[in-house]
């Protein structure tokens, strides 16, 4: 049966990160960073009764990062995800997740996240709060972001790389996505991994 399913959605987007923290580096004012698309994934998981955990990701997105290590609160990020780029593992499953029952991509082709607040928790962790817009509904969500300097970055070169892993949990019903509840969980996990590059 189907049931399944599903999952969805969501996407989310998110965020990434941003952040902040990471002490130690050269003090620069908020600066632009490039998102390393080869190291970026916007993924989600959702559970359902009597159905395997659904894991999916979005292939197409646009994102911006502004990182200020000295003043994390000045950091900022925004991501916009192409809802139709969802991939849950098979064409027909993708089509169902994109249908009006879930992502409704015809009516809501994008979902987005824009940070509103960045708080440094410790040297390697930040908490990013922002507005998530899904199915045309905007709600605040908070993501916990692990931040790590990328060991692959060469300090001698005038470039820096910072890896972020942002995780959050949303209740999809908050955004009007009630399909399948309670057989499909209301809550879903969002994980955004990305790497930011700076050419300063």
């Amino acid at each position: 049966m189907d049931r399944s399913m599903i999952a969805r959605w969501l996407g989310v987007c998110c965020l990434s990160a941003i952040l902040c923290c990471i002490d130690a580096h050269a003090a620069t004012p908020a600066q632009g960073w490039r998102i390393d698309e080869a190291q970026t994934s916007i993924a989600f998981t959702i559970d359902a009764v009597g159905f395997p955990t659904t894991r999916g990701h979005f292939a197409h997105y646009r994102g911006r990062l502004l990182i200020d290590f000295d003043r994390p609160a000045k950091s900022y990020t925004t991501f916009t995800v192409d809802a139709a780029s969802v991939d849950v593992g098979s064409p027909s499953f993708n089509d169902f997740v994109k249908s009006a029952a879930l992502l409704n991509v015809e009516r809501f082709p994008t979902m987005s996240f824009a940070s509103t607040q960045v708080d440094k928790v410790d040297a390697h962790t930040a908490r990013v709060t922002g507005n998530l817009t899904l199915l045309g509904v905007t709600k605040p969500v908070t993501l916990t972001v692990d931040v790590a300097s990328d060991p692959a970055a060469n300090p001698a070169a005038k470039s820096r790389a910072v890896a972020f892993v942002a995780k959050g949990r949303i209740q999809r019903s908050d955004f009007g996505m009630t399909f399948g509840i309670p057989l499909i969980d209301d809550a879903l996990e969002i994980t955004v991994k990305t790497r930011a590059l700076s050419d300063e």
């Binding site: 049966m1 189907d2 399944s4 599903i6 395997p52 849950v88 593992g89 027909s92 169902f96 309670p182």
Partner: protein, 185 residues
Amino acid sequence: MNRVTTVWPLSLRLAHWLNAALVIGALGLGAFMVLAVHSAATRFELTQTHKSIGVGVLVLTVLRLCLRCVMRVHRPEPASRSVTIAAKAVHIGLYSLLLLLPLSGWLMVTSTPVRVPTVVFGLFELPYPLAPDIARFRVAHAAHIVLAVTLAALVVLHMVAALVHAWVWGDRTLTRMWLRADRVL
């Protein structure tokens, strides 16, 4: 009696073996996807196929029953009264389950809150006549499982009985259902 006339009409023989393939396929696929598939995407795909096969079973079973009503159906091979009664009971059970099992599946997919359209073999969409109701879904789900296990048991019994007829009693019960029965008998 002319021996040739004891074979089942070709249409019923074809329907029998096609239905057998569909039923065994649906039962096997259903058990496999629920017990052994841990990928959500694969489970989703297999479930769609399972539903299509189930609709095929339902349509074909109705067709078979209609054919049996309009075509001359021969009496069974001579056997003891107890065997004849048992065979009749098993056949009534098989036909009943061939109707009830797909219908319980239909009730499931129309009652579940996780309503996924059923596009039968990509040809047409199965209507969902009832509104979702999780309590009804749970009843239908439980019934579907019980009916499936019961049908699997009856199918095995049916196959064993056919082999006993052929190999132990040496009658033509199985032979006259062969697709090429006209040439054999």
